[in-house]
Amino acid sequence: MRTLFKFHGGVHPPGNKAQSTQQPTAVAPIPAKLVIPFRQHAGEAAKPVVQVGDHVLKGQLIGEPAGFISSAIHAPTSGTITAIDIQPVAHPSGLPDLCATLIPDGRDEWVERKPTDYRTLPADELRHLLRMSGIVGLGGAVFPSDVKLRPLRDHPNKDIGTLILNGAECEPWITCDDMLMRERAAEIVQGAEMLRSMLGSREVLIGIEDNKPEAIAAMRLAVADSGLPFEVVAVPTIYPGGSAKQLIRVLTGLEVPSGKLPTDIGVQCFNVATVYSAWRAVAHGEPLISRVVTVTGNVARPRNYEALIGTPLTDLIALGEPLPDTDGYIMGGPMMGTPLPSTSVPLVKAGNCIIAGSKKLFPPPPPALPCIRCTRCAQACPADLQPMDLYWFSQSKNFGQAQAFSLFDCIECGACSYVCPSHIPLVQYFRFSKSEIRMREQEKQAADRARERHEYREFRIEREKQEKAERLAAKEKAAAAAKPVEPPVVATNPDAAPENTAQMKIQAAIEHAKEQAAAIKPKNTENLSAEQLAEIAEIEARRARIRETAKSDVEPPKE
């Protein structure tokens, strides 16, 4: 048995997972209309490569990645693109975004799929394939998977010794990963072996919370069948045990350093659904155009559905048959999910669960009372923070102090709000503080840029003044030289020589200008490293050589 480690805090909210696991995953019907956002992943939105009126096939690329951190978007079924415009989407900000509208033709006709044996492809081509297949993290962060599989920029040779598959699914109500592991374990295991070979990991750990015995059994069976030396580890059920950093800690005892990535400690972590999609993309040539989504909560038929990306949530909700007292919907789980402003928004890659809410299931919290510093929040915090202090600083907008008390190590899991007997929306305060700090940071950067521009402008005006003075001086000099030389008598009587005084003034101006030029020091030339100095010396030498050559070109050596 593997020794498991603990992380601080955590809570045990009621699981409510049994409701949606009574029946196997069903395939949701193709809706009458699909709305596919071009931004379904972390990073840059995909760039549309189709036009209104185009007929597309299932799996055809409709948005190509635009940037280092970006991913591709595909048509989930065959049909006609009827619009590419701004539409409401399910985003916490509530802002609409660019989407393609696709009217299916009902034939569900695939583009030509190219199944590949991953062993025949070099890692960079595999990464490109994943990027062009739109594979992103399906655990919620939707971070492009190809980026996570790149060799480390700073230590390209450092190996990622441990690959972790995250099947913890710690949020209440959500069961999509559970059902996927129960039903498609073999493909997850094959996908894990593919990712393992890309990372060069020696060890593969599959962490599943022990409230999913069927999934654990299915995955163990699949691992045994594959003959691969992977380990399926049942981890204790505790929220937020499925958070990547907390799961890594439980499985390996290692803590991802604050502000660093798991790869910095030789670990990489993928959600099981991501691994499954990566496998489908490579072995079957199927890009990410559908996902398993849990429809549960205040519905008559809670169940998991494999639904096309872009399916209007109204259609999915209708499959669950919401009860009459339903008064709202949550996308995601009840701990970290977001309320849906409208159900007309489409399903996106991040959409793992839709929960119908009612007053009975999610009663409104009683009015918040003052903090009594009972420290239940600190006892529950998986990041070992002191939420009651952070709350105090956030409430008083003392952002500097909030940052000093590690505000940005907060993972926004909501455990603090969950346990607060005063019912203070703590995590909401922290989100507010973080966004305020980020906004101020941006404003500060903008102000810095403006100041630099202003300083440069001042410098430029001064330089132009000098140049003008020098030009004037040169002109005067030339004029003076052109004049017949005054007799030395004048020299003995300077008062009588206006030209001379003028010349002296010019001389003074030039001196002044030179002094000023000397006062303006070039920036960033202090405290240079030996390498930089050597580099500068080399450049200077090169310049000198060029000057010499230029001179010799212009003035051929006499002789």
């Binding site: 502000g259 003052p370 009651m388 940052q403 008390f405 969950y418 007997p421």
Partner: protein, 350 residues
């Protein structure tokens, strides 16, 4: 689904429930109190409760705060109960009224109300009373079977509200100094601990009756730990420090310094360890801080008891340690996940 942001679920705990459970945990001690000293304490508690609620309501009104939700949070009631349990039960009615009103109005609401007071309100109330009305604060009831006369409940009520005793009964006949006080006075008269403990007011552990009350509070305190309303840190550090300090002195000179167990079960040690020092508002938030805070209070309690001018030291020990709380918290910040050093030390101290 009225919430607009996650989490959409929360534990059903409320401040009112926490306070109520703390009050429930006081019941075994109160039962012992009634058993050994008669029902006078119930009158004190009732008076304190009424005063606490009335003062709380008045202050909320004055401060333009919603009255109903705060009156229902039980925090004022708990303050009143703790003060009532800290002062002599047989006292003129205005003593507990003045103390409670001061605790709620001055030491709680003038600092910003629930959650904002730096000092334990009940202990501020106690301090005000012992400084202002020292005579009334020394008339402790004699436990059952030890006094020359025993007052009935009606007689006790009459004394509390009208100040009159039955004919022929003096106040001295029904009250006594506390075991701690007696010990201190007798030690000054050069009696040895052994001689003093032969007096009938002393029982197996400490004072007759009062030791049983302390046991009642200990039982209630253990319930609070088991129910996860308080953590073990404060009681263990407090009782540990008190035991250790008393133990050292006792070992050096057993004739002059009583056993550590006597200190545990005398006065308000158990009440303080589990109910007073554990007040979340006025104690440190970090676990390490709780240990330092409570150990300091334990040490101070002993020093005040053994060498100070007051018979018991919980109130002043608590208040003195309350002063140190912000500093203790600042220097005991725990390690953050993924970080090597606590941020409080460097980042916090500015």
């Amino acid at each position: 689904m009225a919430a607009f942001f996650s989490p959409f679920i929360s534990k059903p705990d409320t401040v009112a429930q926490i306070m109520l459970r703390v009050m429930l945990a006081l019941l075994p001690g109160i039962a012992m109190y009634v058993w050994y000293f008669g029902p006078a304490i119930l009158v004190s508690i009732a008076l304190a409760s009424v005063t606490a609620l009335a003062t709380e309501a008045a202050m909320l009104k004055l401060r333009n705060r919603p009255v109903a939700p705060f009156l229902q949070d039980n925090s004022a009631l708990l303050t009143g109960w703790l003060l009532a349990l800290s002062i002599p039960p047989l006292a003129p009615w205005w003593l507990i009224v003045v103390g409670t009103a001061f605790a709620i109005s001055i030491s709680k609401h003038l600092y910003g109300g629930l959650g904002n007071n730096p000092f334990n309100p009940a202990m501020i109330g106690f301090a005000v009373l012992i400084v202002s009305f020292p005579a009334q604060m020394t008339h402790w009831l004699t436990p059952h079977g030890l006094g020359q006369v025993e007052l009935g409940f009606l007689d006790q009520l009459r004394y509390t509200f009208l100040g009159s005793l039955p004919p022929g009964v003096t106040l001295d006949a029904i009250t006594m100094a506390t075991p701690l006080d007696t010990l201190k006075t007798r030690l000054h008269l050069d009696e040895s601990v052994k001689q003093i403990f032969d007096m009938p007011i002393y029982g197996r552990l400490a004072g007759q009756g009062s030791e049983m009350v302390s046991l009642g509070f200990l039982a209630g305190g253990l319930y609070l730990i088991a129910a996860r309303i308080i953590t073990w840190h404060v009681p263990v550090a407090y009782l540990g420090a008190l035991f250790a300090t008393a133990g050292i002195f006792h070992l050096t000179d057993p004739a002059h310094y009583v056993t550590p167990l006597f200190h545990w079960f005398s006065g308000a040690a158990m009440l303080g360890a589990f109910f007073i020092l554990t007040d979340p508002v006025t104690s440190p938030t970090t676990n390490k801080g709780k240990l330092i805070f409570a150990a300091g209070a334990g040490l101070l309690t002993y020093l005040i008891r053994a060498f100070g001018g007051f018979p018991d030291g919980i109130a002043f020990a608590t208040l003195l340690m309350n002063i140190c709380v912000p500093l203790i918290v600042l220097y005991t910040q725990p390690k953050v996940f993924g970080k090597k050093h606590p941020s409080g030390k460097n980042g916090g101290a500015q």
